[in-house]
Assembly symmetry: C3
Homo-oligomer: 498 residues x 3
């Protein structure tokens, strides 16, 4: 580690945060539902909207806030407790895992709002970005993308590298999301493509560039008994609140389906994970790494189709396949990637987010290609607005049957076309993630960013943290004494192992 | 442990999960509030209900989902974090406690939906089971019953035994619930009888059959410093979210009362637990086992009466009595049961769920026997529908005063009759739980299910888990060296103790 | 510790709880939204309100409960998991931290309801205190005040002292809140003055009186590796749910702003904390104490102004300043207070709650002094009702523009006057907190309350807890053997250090 870390990290963080203040002051404002209500018609913020809110005497706003807030908090817990503690499984990297997770997310939540403002709301055209509860969810989502990539390189990067990686990745990921969603019109309610697959393959590309031979079979790259239990806190909060991740942004029956499908998929995935971890183990025993991670693959795999009418058994099948794929990944593929392709993956994000994300995308494309008005009813047009007839082709009968469908928005897409664009979005996502990840990796290798290189620096909190002394030096005073005593009496023969 | 555990457990889990897929495909469908809305009147799913939903443009569904989802997530946290971490108090059984808790619940949530479909919805008559948010809560509840029984035998069973026990217990518990609720018309809003008392006495009966003399005063049957703190995570999440357990399924003023009563009962129970644990300890010190468990008895004890007008002081008294009983149980009764009756109870579920569950049932019977229209108003008929006059006896005056009471549902039951049926439900529950528990215990003793027998197998994760090496062999490399050195130099004299 | 601790603590706790039962029975009742609905017009509880509820058929109550309950549960988690685990950072005081936190809160929640009834609802006039969901939040808030003071003296008091301190502090804090809010009309939506500043300065005053020279640089006054991770559970839950603390009690756009402002302030505060902890450290490393605490200062600092139109960038600036101040406190001020002023502060509550609370109050006074109708619209009168014109000065134009403003409540206060009263409330709060804290400290020094005095009693669970044997005696059997062996062979030379 460069000796200038102290100045560099702190200074960069303060500069970035200061820039954020300036950008927030010039580019953002409260959404009308958070504005103070201006009654003066001459006030620049006086609009029909705020006027409406005024007349409705806070009732409609209270409903909006009351309905959006609980799923937001669930997602918030997933980001800060879920991802944070999931990554504490390393025996000597718990401080970094949970704390840098918190730092990165806090920074990128702000950055995501600014970037999304530029990408989605035409800030360049002079519009201000409207901050509201829904944007708190999407900002949390945006940081999740980076946390997934963080998992791939966990223990092998400096905080400064993470900061730089995060700033870049949020921009690329938001542009990718915009292209896929707003240009290709591929839907992804739980963002399994745009967050999970993107974050995983971006992180793996970065990891490839940062390949470090010392990290291979590193004894600190493993868990200890209590670190595994801390990790389970993360696992279980992710597992429980995943329905909010996949369904928090929907409404009505779509949201209800997203909750049911995600819940059932995760249950089935968990059962299969326990079965596969035992069946494929030499001694027939369970392995915590599988339980901590593969049990969650069901949430990723059902992400793109969560709001679609999969039926309960369909959601369960999706969870089973996800658990199977993820377990196979942890058992066989992670080692293959590390040894043959030099792609190290500390948390196995390829198995938890990468492959299940691709599975989700494929399932989404297949569902889209099979969706008919007969089976899906009005949900077809709510989920795929371009499937509605073109404005000129709208019949009176259609309008009578589907009064809630916007007659202007349809493009008359066929099922096959929608399915094709869904598949195209996957390809675009993977391509952008891998290319931008490789470039980002090269940037991170610039020595100024304090790449962690030596064996004793890897997976080690002491590199960047003041660790309580007792722990640094050994387990206890007795141990210290024992260590010294053995050394004194026994010479080098015994102590080589220590 | 049989050497074939690997194949057996994994194969059974996969078979069960596969059967679930087939059953879900044939027996379940989305509730109309999760259906895609079918506009085609010729579609088999087109009904007045879905039509209604369609017309209401998702508003009513969004309200339904928005109101039911937060308490569901609270219960979900209780099941997976609450029960899971509560049981991590054993020093060498944390992996099993939190992970098998997750496995069992994931499996039984699915099973409970299928079983409930058969028991409640007449699947045999060709109806499909309607999956919706409320059924996600009841499925979580159903798994709680088994988790309580799991607590009684914790550390003394194989995963395969747990799986078999769970599949059986869910069926019996759901039938018991149906008999007590739908046949005897005994109410139990927080299911203190049907979940807590049932789960406890079922588990104790199983435990009696599986009695293992090695488990008596086993040194691994205790906690260590950090395992006690992990356990407190479970305790506190259970404690905080218990109002959602008792009140999540209610509406209006009933729900409001359930929240208030449970909250106050738990506070009072906690104060009393601290007092009793100190007063009855030889050195006057607190004991974590009491804090981890007896503080929760107030939630169980108020379960049956939570939605009744106990008044705040009534809820507080209930909590005090529960804390007292539970502490006495942990101090004196657990040991008595184990030594005299050969009923071992690892987590003390008899003290936390058994006796407080019986207390709840008795309180429910007493409240029912004292309920009058004068004091309870319309709540009397909302809580006990059979107390309403028979259809022929309904007067105009009654209808004017209670327009919301269904004039068809009353049976003219007296307060005493309702109280009697409440008491009868308790007796039925205890009888079914104990008998079915004993039978289940005998089934679990069949050698094929890998009963844990030997002393070194008990309360030990290493039996079924790959535990990180450092931990298996000793605390640290220094310790290993010390151990070896001492052995070398000192011969057998010293090392006998190690 | 006095040998009579056992009898004293338990007896006092039982007596207090018994008195609570009597007071609850005589002084409280359910709010009308939790009452059973009485249809009999002659019943004493039959009122227009309950009649209304009856007619509305539970819908309005369900809305009320559904909207208030999720933020309540978030606050509940902050109190019991958040404060509880935050304080487990001490290596040998985890049992006490998390459990006494639970005990104190459970006791004081009940006490707060009774005290608030006396202070706010005129129980002396024969009114009963109405228990409802909102009062569950305020009761949790009231216990938070004491938990903050608990943090100042953590590890240096007996449970009995905490109990006495809590009973006194709740009374004084509620009176202070009443004076500031209902007499001075100073607003404080997140109670940064009335809870955070009050709790901190009260606790510091108590701590000054209980000054113990042995506690200075005590080796058990530090963390160990895993205790730091437990502490992060508390930190993160506090951090995530803080928007509910600041906004849970509001409605409409005010609530929405409170959520947004708190969220952004905390993100910015976290970034700045990481920067400052590295920049001011000799080795340039991060320190967990800062991450665990200073990251939260953004929630305190924005507490008074959370519902005001700060704009997103304003909230971010507030968070930055809070993080800066809090870090400076942890780096320099805590030691200064302990060494120069003999004010020991185990958790650094002065840095997390004290100074940021004062900052919040100053920000509130400044915002109030700058608030204009032009910028704030109707929010001006919703947040500061006294700013509305006096009844005689209400014009038709005003009524047309602000139909929701109560024409009777205005006092025609100017911005400056409101700002002045805000500042006055801060001064009153600090004065009352410090004086009452000093007096309370003197009371706690009465020997009957078992003051912890000796060096080995400090920061040590074994004082009041049965700690598992292995932990009491040393780390493991191997260590015991090593210790003995070294002692035997080596004589005193080596073992002096042990």
């Amino acid at each position: 580690m460069g000796s200038g870390f102290r100045l560099k990290f702190g200074t960069v963080a303060i500069i970035v945060q200061t820039v954020f203040i300036v950008l927030f002051a010039t580019l953002t404002e409260y959404d009308w539902r958070a504005h103070p209500v201006y009654s003066d018609p001459n006030h620049p913020s006086y609009t029909n909207d705020t006027n409406l809110a005024f007349q409705e005497d806070n009732e409609s706003i209270s409903h909006y806030v009351g309905r959006k807030y609980p799923p937001f908090q669930d997602v918030h817990v997933m980001i800060f407790i879920g991802f944070g503690f999931l990554m504490t499984f390393l025996r000597r990297y718990g401080y970094s895992a949970v704390s840098l997770n918190m730092f990165i997310s806090s920074l990128l939540i702000q950055w995501a709002m600014l970037v999304r403002g530029c990408v989605y709301e035409g800030i360049f055209k002079g519009n201000k970005f409207q901050v509201r509860l829904e944007e708190m969810v999407t900002a949390d989502f945006a940081s999740a993308t980076v946390l997934i990539s963080f998992g791939a390189v966990l223990g092998r990067t400096s905080p400064l590298q993470l900061l730089i990686m995060g700033l870049i990745e949020v921009i690329v990921a938001q542009v990718n999301g915009y292209v896929c969603h707003d240009v290709l019109h591929a839907v992804d309610v739980g963002e399994s493509m745009y967050i999970h697959a993107f974050g995983a393959y971006f992180g793996l590309a970065v990891s490839r560039v940062l390949y470090n031979k010392h990290a291979q079979s590193h004894h600190k790259g493993e868990s200890c008994y209590h670190s595994d239990l801390f990790s389970m806190i993360g696992t279980i909060f992710l597992w429980m609140y995943w329905p909010s991740f996949n369904g928090g942004g929907s409404e009505g029956d779509e949201q209800h389906r997203a909750y049911i499908n995600t819940y059932l998929s995760l249950c089935a995935c968990t059962v299969i994970t326990f079965a596969i971890t035992a069946l494929t183990d030499k001694k027939g025993k369970f392995t915590m790494e599988f339980i901590q991670n593969a049990t969650l693959a069901g949430g990723v795999a059902v992400g793109t189709t969560a709001n679609m009418p999969l039926q309960p058994y369909g959601a369960i099948i999706m969870g089973c396949v996800a658990g199977l794929i993820s377990c196979i990944g942890y058992r066989y593929i992670t080692e293959f990637l590390a040894e043959k392709l030099k792609i190290q993956d500390t948390c196995g994000v390829h198995n938890l987010h990468g492959m299940p994300g691709v599975l989700a995308a494929i399932a989404g494309a297949v569902m889209a290609a099979m969706a008919t008005q007969e089976d899906w009813g009005v949900s077809l047009y709510e989920i795929f607005p371009y499937r509605a007839p073109k404005p000129d082709d709208i019949t009176n009968e259609f309008q009578r049957q589907f009064p809630s469908v916007d007659v202007e928005s349809g493009k008359g897409w066929s099922a096959g076309k929608q399915g094709g664009y869904q598949a195209l979005a996957l390809a675009v996502t993977l391509g952008i993630a891998i290319v931008s990840g490789l470039i980002t990796g090269l940037i991170l290798k610039i020595p100024i960013f304090d790449q962690v290189n030596d064996e004793e620096e890897l997976f080690e909190d002491m590199m960047f943290w003041n660790v309580p002394e007792e722990e640094e030096e050994g387990k206890s005073e007795v141990e210290l004494a024992a260590r010294k005593y053995i050394q004194d009496k026994n010479g080098t023969q015994m102590t080589e192992k220590l």
